[in-house]
Structure formats: C-alpha cells, structure tokens
Symmetry: C2
Subunit: 364 residues, 2 copies
C-alpha cells in the first residue's frame, strides 16, 4: 500500500492506494476517528453498485457501523440539484446527523455529488472518498465538490475536504475501456503541468496503463495524486496556482456542454482541450514540440485529439463564455510553455481561442 498526505493544516488527510485495501475499510475508519454512534451513508451509482456496494456495506456493518446507501443513475446527469435532494431524502430517512459521514463510492460523478451532499447536509458533515475510476484520482483529491446547472457544469458547489481517500486498484478491473483511457487523460495532464519525467514515463507505459497492469497503475495513480496534492496544498481555494489544473479544461468543458450525451467523456474532452492549449502555446512562440509531443501521447493512449466536425463553433464559444475560468470578462487560459511546465495567461484573446477551436475541427 502506498500512502500520501494532502497537506492542508487542520484539514490535512491521507490518500491510501493499494490492491485490495477496501478489505481494511473498518480498520481505516476506526483509525481516523469515524464514530459508530451515527449512521453512515454510502452514495454510489448503479454500475458501481452492481460490483461493490454489497461488499462495502457488509464490511462496514461487520466493523460495527450502521450503514445506509443511496444509488443514483450512472452518468453526469446525476450531478444535479434534483438528485442532491433525493440523496438528502435518504440521509434524513436514515437518520444521518451532524456526526455522520457520507461516503462516495464511485467515479467523479459520485464523488462530486456525494461531496456536495456532505458539504451542505446540515451545513457540513464528514466525507470519505472511495474512487473507483482512474479519472477519480483527480476528482477525489482537493475538496472541490459540485453539481451542475443546466447552463453550466460544476457551478454550484463548495470546497469540502474528505477525511481520507481510499483507493483500491482492484475496483478498476470492471471499468469499461473507454473510461480507463478517459481517466488516464487526467493522469497525463498531471505530468504535462508539473513533471516532464513522469510525462515521459506515462508515454513509455501507455500499453501497461491501458491494460491495467497493477504495478504501473499504482505508480501512475500515486504520481498523479502527488501532483494534485502538491498543487492543492499550495492553493486550497483556487486563488491562483490551482488554476493550472485546468489545463485543457477551458475548451474541454465547453465541448462537454455542447456535445450530446455520452459523445465525449470528461477525459476525452480535455485531451482535445490539451491539444488545443498546445497549439495555442506554439502560436504564442513556444517550441513546436509542445504540440507534437502532446498530440503524440494522446494518440498513443487512443484518446481523441480533434473536435468532432459537426460541433458548432459558435455554440462552443458561447458555452466557454459561461465557464467560471473567465474573471472580469478576460479569458484566463492555461498555456503549456514546455512539457511539464505551464503558465497562467490572463490575456488570451477570444479570437485566438476561436481560431484554435476551428483548427481543432480539422485535426486528425
């Protein structure tokens, strides 16, 4: 088992990564002072529930915890205020009180939703993340939780740090291949913004990672979480540095908003966005290899690098204008300056971004 700390003073917490560590959930909960006097609520989705809900609930019950559960439909649509209200119904009916803990068992959707439930139920209860996707190595670390609004993703939320993150790589074996690759896109992002060596390692180990090789997976997740934790520790509430985690996300979020249901997964959308950011980088005078290497890596992982031709540029641009990375109407853009290095550029013109979007529709 690998262990890592997200350093946030009084709100610091550990990330445990290992094969089969869910079996130790009772011990880990006790170690972190999660009391048995108040009920727990496990929130998960129907895909994850099929494989892991029963085992997790019975491990918790065996350890002496009163445990309720709530299963939402799999998919981004569950990150809504309506579903939040439904989860709270279950919480109330199960008698959750201020000393209760909400557990997110699932991918980023479940983590963001259950995290916002934990942040807002009775104005805040404790929260544990049990990520079951690769993408969730990103979403489960850092305390950003939210639901979507019909007009904008992740626009209603909070900063609410978990008590711990419990990452059992054994849960990843049931993940559909497309979600594996989508999740690896965020892992690559962590390399691209912070660590050229790790980026190269990702490229060299693409086949092992896509094939869910246990050793490669644990190392990659550990390194990805480490970058995320380092950034978050320095800027918990996204005042400055944390913005670099949004590499590829300005275009990526807009694509997700405009794309039809399931047309683009999050990791796929930001892969395209990162290629866009690399193109912008070169146009701004940075070396050509920023673009060629970035694109080559995503190709190697079988991730998309072009905007589907049928998507409307105007619609993409208008979705972008609602994106929260725009402050005082200027476009804040994360631009790679080299592999493993980015800058926060607050002066990118909307026209340039539009050009990039148009070019990305022509990309192979």
């Amino acid at each position: 088992m690998r262990e890592l700390t997200v350093d946030l003073g009084a709100r610091s917490y550990p990330i445990y990564i290992g094969e089969g560590i869910l079996n130790d959930i009772g011990t880990l909960f006790e170690k972190h002072g999660i009391g048995k006097g108040s009920p727990l609520l496990v929130v998960t989705d129907d895909h994850v529930a099929e494989h892991f809900l029963e085992p997790v609930v019975s491990l918790l019950r065996t350890a002496g915890y009163t445990t309720a559960s709530h299963v939402v439909a799999s998919g981004e649509k569950s990150k809504s205020l309506k579903v939040l209200e439904d989860v709270v119904t279950t919480a109330l009916q199960a008698g959750l009180d201020r000393k209760s803990t909400v557990i997110a068992l699932g991918g980023g959707v479940v983590g963001d939703l259950a995290g916002f439930v934990a942040a807002s139920y009775m104005r805040g209860v404790r929260f544990v993340q049990i990520p079951t996707t690769i993408l969730a190595h990103d979403s489960s670390v850092g305390g950003k939780v939210a639901v979507n609004h019909p007009l904008a993703k992740n626009i209603i939320g909070a900063f609410h740090q978990p008590e711990m993150v419990l990452y059992d790589t054994a849960t990843l074996r049931t993940l559909p291949d497309r979600d594996v690759r989508s999740g690896l896109s965020e892992m690559i992002k962590h390399g691209l913004i912070w660590d050229a060596e790790f980026t190269a390692w990702c490229e060299d180990n693409a086949d092992k990672l896509v094939g869910l090789d246990p050793e490669a997976l644990q190392y990659g997740l550990y390194m990805g979480c480490r970058v995320k934790a380092a950034v978050v520790s320095q800027d918990e509430r996204e005042n400055d540095l944390r913005a670099i985690l949004n590499l590829g996300h300005t275009i990526g979020h807009a694509l997700e908003a405009v794309a039809g249901y399931n047309e683009l997964l999050h990791g796929e959308a930001i892969a395209i966005g990162m290629v866009g950011a690399a193109k912008l980088s070169v146009r701004m005078g940075n070396p050509e290899h920023v673009y060629t290497v970035t694109k080559r890596i995503f190709k190697k992982f079988g991730l998309p690098t072009a905007i589907p031709a049928h998507m409307d540029t105007d619609a993409i641009m208008s979705a972008m204008m609602h994106d929260k990375k725009f402050s005082e109407s200027k476009i804040v853009y994360i631009v790679p300056t080299d592999i493993g290095k980015v800058e926060i550029n607050k002066n990118v013109s909307a026209d340039w971004v539009r050009d990039i979007v148009d070019q990305l529709k022509q990309e192979d």
Copy 2:
C-alpha cells in the same frame, strides 16, 4: 448610525444600523472593497421589490456598479433548491464571476436563500445582507445560510459570512404588523438567553417596539445583534455555545413543519416554543417565574403562546425527530434556568417533550 463588529478573525464584518443608511450604500460598498469590475446580483422577494428594489439598484448603478436583480415569490417556499437553481440562472445570464457579490435585500427567507447562492455559486462568492424585517436582525448575522428540503427546514446549507450587514430601519415601516411582532420574538429570545436587563427593557418598551418607534427600534436591534454577534464570535460553526440561539426552536421548527402555509410565522412558532421551554424548565426544578415572565412578555407583544388545538401531537413529534438538533438520537434541548440564562441539556427525554407539546395545546 450604530456600528457593531462580528468578531471572526479574518472573517470579521461590521453591522451598520441606522435610519436612512441605504442612501450610503455606494460609499459603504467602496469602503469594503467591493470592486466595480464584476456585476452584482440583488436577490429580493416580490413584497420587498415593490418598495425597495428600484431605489437600491439605482443607488448602486449611480455609484458605478453593474447590477442585476432576481425577484422570488415572497414566503418560505422560495427557500428551495428549485428557486436556488433559478437564481443561479440569473447569475449566469448576468455574467456573475468569482469576484462578484450577491446582495440579499429582504427578510430571513431572502437572506438564507441568497446566502446559500453566494456560498455555492462558483463554490463561493461575496455576500452582503440588507435585512428588511425585524426577524432578520437574527438571520442576517452569523453566516448560517440554507434552503429547505421537503422533509426538513434549513437542512441544505453552509456557513458563509457576509462582508457586511446594512440595516436601514426606514425599510421596516412597510412591514405587516404580524411580521413586526414575529421579528420581535427573536429579539426577545436574545434577551432571554443572555441578558435579563435587556429582556426587561423589551417588556417595558413593547408598545414602542410594536409601534416601530425609531429610537426603540434602533436600540432593540442593536442589542439583539450584539447578543447574536457575541455568541457567534465564540462558536462560528455551532459546535457548542451557538446552540443556545435555538431556544424555542426545537418545538418551533416542528410546528412550522406541521402547520399549514402561513398558519404560523417563524417568530410565532418559536414564541410558543419558548413558552414550552420555560414549562420544561419549571418541571426540571427551575423557579416558577421563568415560565410566568416568559409567557407574560409574549402576551404583551401579542404573540401566540399555545399550539393550535387542531395540530396533531404525533405529527409534531415526528417532525422533531428529523430536526438537526438531535445528535446521536438523544434530544438536545435549550432550557432556560432563569431569565437571561440558559443551559444546553443533552438528556431531555422525548416523553417529557411530548407532555409539554400536549400541555401547550391547552395553554391560553
């Protein structure tokens, strides 16, 4: 103008109380560093909008602020996730960004709703309270913001402190008489939990307060806010002391949950609750005058002191079991030990509370 500080370290903020001070809103906003580069959003309800929305918006525009507004229907029903989503729609359409400020112009309903919008929009933006009811001297101080769930009041929310509270007593003249009395109920509560002298002053000045005498009103609001601020400063996140602010609220919230729409206002429900708490106090061996004085005061303010006979005891008790002041299934009850003094009693039996509820149905 009277001024008061809520002492919360980096989150400290001032409360300004005075006749006509809304005219200085531009100056006060500038003084507190509210920038002009990002739009403001004024949230209000249709009753308040009629009198004050246009003046406030034009004062802000004259001062150089881009200002949007959102008007909700008056009443508790607007404290819902649905209405929250609607306010966020307006916020997005008006282009609110992370540097924007949300302004609550209204009573406790608007304050709680707009406050939760401010707490959760983009994971938190700035917030200013402009209370226009007497009750809001309570709700606008302390940072508790929330919306309701169909099964429980205030169950989805946050702690989110405002930048300032701007209390213009001139806005109170249009308040319906019933809301005036309901608001004074929280003012009396602040006396009952903290300050026997102020309680006596309230009783002596009942006619002036109900008649909205400017001097009496300013002093009463100032003192009420002072008690609230003192308690909140010592316990921002309701870990212990802050619970005393819930005097009368355990029964009060249950009555609100069970009563039909508009049958009981918040201040009316807690007046009954405070009489109940005083009865419980005497049953526990505290002096008889705790009950007689408490009841006499509420009578003098024309507030209800009995539970409407048609209300079902079982329904009231079951609503109480969902109330968040129950921790680990034990009943936490705020019990007055004398006028101006309360204790937090964590061991009140549900049977005793049921007896009190039954007795309150017989009260005159």
